[in-house]
Amino acid sequence: MLSKLAIKNAKRSIKDYMIYLITVTLSFSLIFAFNLIIFSKDILELSSFMANFKSSIIVVSTIVVFVVGWLINYTMRFMLTKRSKEFGTYMLLGIEKKQITKMFLLENIILGTISLILSIFLGFILSQFMTMFIMNIFELPYKVSFSFGIQPIILTIVYFLAIYFFVLLRAKRKIKKMKLYDLLYYEKVNENKMYKSKKVRTITFFISILLGIIGLILFHFAMVKILDNSSNPTMLYILLSLISIIISIYGTTLTFADFITNFILKRKNLKYNKDNLFIVRQFTSKVRTTGITLGTLALLITLTFISLNLSNIFNSMFKIQNESSAPYDIMVYNLYSETQSEIGTNSEHKLEEYLKYIKENYTIEDSITYRVYTNEGNPIRKNISNGVVGYQDVDCYLKLSDYNKLLKMRNTDPIKLKEDEFYIHSFRDVSKDLKIYLKNNPDLKINNVTLKLKDITDYKYSTSWSRGSSYIIVVPDKIINENFKIINEITAINTKEETTEEFYNNMKNKFKEKVFVEETDNGYKTYYSINSITVKGAVESENKSLITTLSFCFMYLSFIFIAVVGTILAIQSLSDSTKYKYRYSILNKLGVEKSQIFKTIKKQLILYFSLPMIYPIIISLISSYSLNRLFNPFMESDYSIIGYVIFNIFLFIIIYTIYFLFTYFGFKDNIREETK
């Protein structure tokens, strides 16, 4: 009998908590899909770096389990409150509390199991899409595979059981504590309003805003500090900024509604305009009773934006890095000179040996061996300090013929220089400062010859051209004479075949690098070696693994966060629509048309859904400015990051809107019966 009742109740709950069940099912589908992927051999064998992917996903899954657990716990508590009267009635009829608990738990287990079973199917389909996506990143063909081990299923079930064990235990304890009176009248004590004076709330609001501003400024400083390489106080800055931003998020979310209400209620024209009075009061009362939850939702939305933004930033960063650090299939840095007076190799082996080995494995299509020079004085390096990345503290020169050959090997058009001209190619990072400097000093004096600046570009700069320098100076071949010193001899090779990570590892093993010893002032010795080869295949494989790992982890988190936020808002609003039906029926009796009531509901829901979203959007936009300071050099353009941020806000709003519409139509349905 009891199980029959539980099944019946579960059926009813499916209707009432549809959106919640959909979210839980989707979340478990994602968890399962990721479990399938991280245990899939095809994926793990893509690159040696994919092992990181596995561990990262497990970490993220753990966070997801906590967040989804929070959602389930929240909803369960919510259901319990909603139905306390029903349970009270069962008790009045003489059913024991123990049995009621059993029934409630059984009902939830039924619902949970349904989601789990559905999510196994859905997760499998999702995993196929994700595999396709990853294969696409690695530019490999994709085939559907239906075989998977038992591990992913077990892991998913473990997550599921972990969540339900704790949640059900808590629900059980909660019911145990409740007395019959509490159950019958629980709905009435549901609202614990925060009775604080208007003044306190206004002050809290302004303090929170101030804290937010301080937090963002600290964050900006931290980003600037990282650039200056003085890393010690940076962590402190970041920590402080995070703390103040979190406090600010809660503070503003809790008090913003009151602030708006006070503002509107003081102004007759706003107060008595249309349905403002009703909406504003409804809004404040709702926010006051659900403030903390809304604060948490705002925090989750902020995290969503951060995840989405980082996902894009890293994605772009590694793509750019591919281009920048490995523009040619193989590069051999065969010469290195520390003292600049003697030329020494950084490997025990000669260039010929490298070439021989490469030829054994690949067909060389094109190659060039060129030198990077330096001269005394270093007029540019001396005057540029901002944003220079690299260990070379000298001006690096390249011969025009070498530079053009290098461009040609990258399928870029060569440049032309007159005899008295020079040209600068720089990293995006330094180009601004260089431009400012060169505007005032367009002449370059080299050994009694004066060269004029032809142009400066930062288009597709490659750090591999001259290692350790953020810019190169291209001069006519003639200019380079015996006064110049060689600091690097580099060979760039394009092969017919695609290079691989395996080849790189083999080469590394075969050609051991020289170990240099450096003694510091306090007598410590540091040992280091300098990389003598770059292989495109290896760099790409690493970067692609990183792209996959980071973008997938962050996307995974973001989706779960949005879904959880949307669900909680939806459940909250929909339960209000039944609990506070009478409010709309009063409006109706006072002569408000049905269509107008729906408009009011729409406004109310838009306000309620926007509250936890507005502040995170502001934070996201402002912090993008700071992030731009740090990451701009690695982006395609100055506006890349702000572009991502805006794109992500739209992406978020689209998913959020789905939840909003679901809530709105549900709300309308619930109210419709009450009005005429």
């Binding site: 008595y272 305009n273 409804q282 409010r583 006072l590 002569g591 408000v592 048309e593 005429k676």
Partner: protein, 255 residues
């Protein structure tokens, strides 16, 4: 005398073909301007149905209801709400105040729905609150004031529009006897001083004794009608009790 409400052979049936409940079965009466009329009857006599029909919340089966010469049974769906807010005022048993709004805001809400001049609203609300003696609690929320005060707030809300007809559904139902008496005196006052027309549904003889005229309903028809005239309230009250005794059933029906 102007007829505010005119009901002409009103019928309201519920149910389907095989099982019809005649909630109102051919009812006709008039209410003239400035009258305070009570409708009494036992549960199931059709008094709430009647009120719902007059207040345009429910449709009629046949017959006409004229409010200030407008046949509300002919009103189109979209005009109903407008008609209601412009012509009718409501006082309900459970106050029906919005708990999220303060007392004065509850009163003002009706005016904002009617799109009144925004600068006039505060003044109007203050005036009516003063008359009903709730001006000192105007900034409190409904849960902070007593039942009687809530009901007076509801009165104020019903009155502020100067409606042609105020409909009251068991207004004292949720009040203690002292608050109930105060409310009824307030309503009497409204009727006397502001010349408001009030139609009140009640099953309580004490409440009804404050009215000018009482209609007794039984099985959806008018069973009896008594006028206060120049009688004292006490003798009117006794007269009501007499009718109620008869209304309860004839001696013959007890066997």
């Amino acid at each position: 005398m102007k007829e505010i409400l005119k009901i002409n052979n009103l019928q309201k049936y519920y149910g389907n073909k095989s099982n019809i409940t005649k909630a109102i079965n051919g009812l006709s009466f008039n209410v003239i301007e400035g009258e305070f009329v009570a409708i009494m009857g036992a549960s199931g006599s059709g008094k709430t149905t009647l009120l719902n029909c007059i207040s345009t919340i429910d449709n009629v089966t046949s017959g006409n209801i004229y409010i200030d010469n407008i046949d509300i049974t002919d009103l189109k769906e979209k005009d109903v709400a407008k008609f209601r807010r412009e012509n009718l005022g409501f006082i309900f048993q459970d106050f029906n105040l919005l708990d999220t709004l303060t007392i004065s805001e509850n009163i003002a809400l009706t005016l904002t729905i009617n799109k009144d001049d925004k600068n006039e609203i505060d003044k109007k609300v203050y005036n009516i609150s003063k008359k009903l003696d709730i001006d000192d609690i105007s900034n409190k929320f409904p849960y902070e004031v007593s039942g009687g005060q809530k009901q007076r707030c509801a009165c104020a809300r019903a009155l502020i529009n100067n409606p042609k007809l105020i409909l009251a559904d068991e207004p004292t139902g949720a009040l203690d006897s002292k608050s109930a008496k105060m409310l009824l005196e307030t309503m009497r006052d409204i009727n006397d001083k502001l010349n408001a027309t009030i139609l009140m549904v009640t099953h309580d003889a004490f409440s009804a004794s404050f009215c000018d005229r009482i209609l007794f309903l039984k099985d959806g028809r008018i069973f009896n009608e008594i006028l206060k005239g120049d009688k004292s309230r006490k003798s009117f009250f006794n007269e009501i009790l007499d009718v109620l005794t008869v209304l309860g059933g004839d001696v013959q029906s007890v066997k």
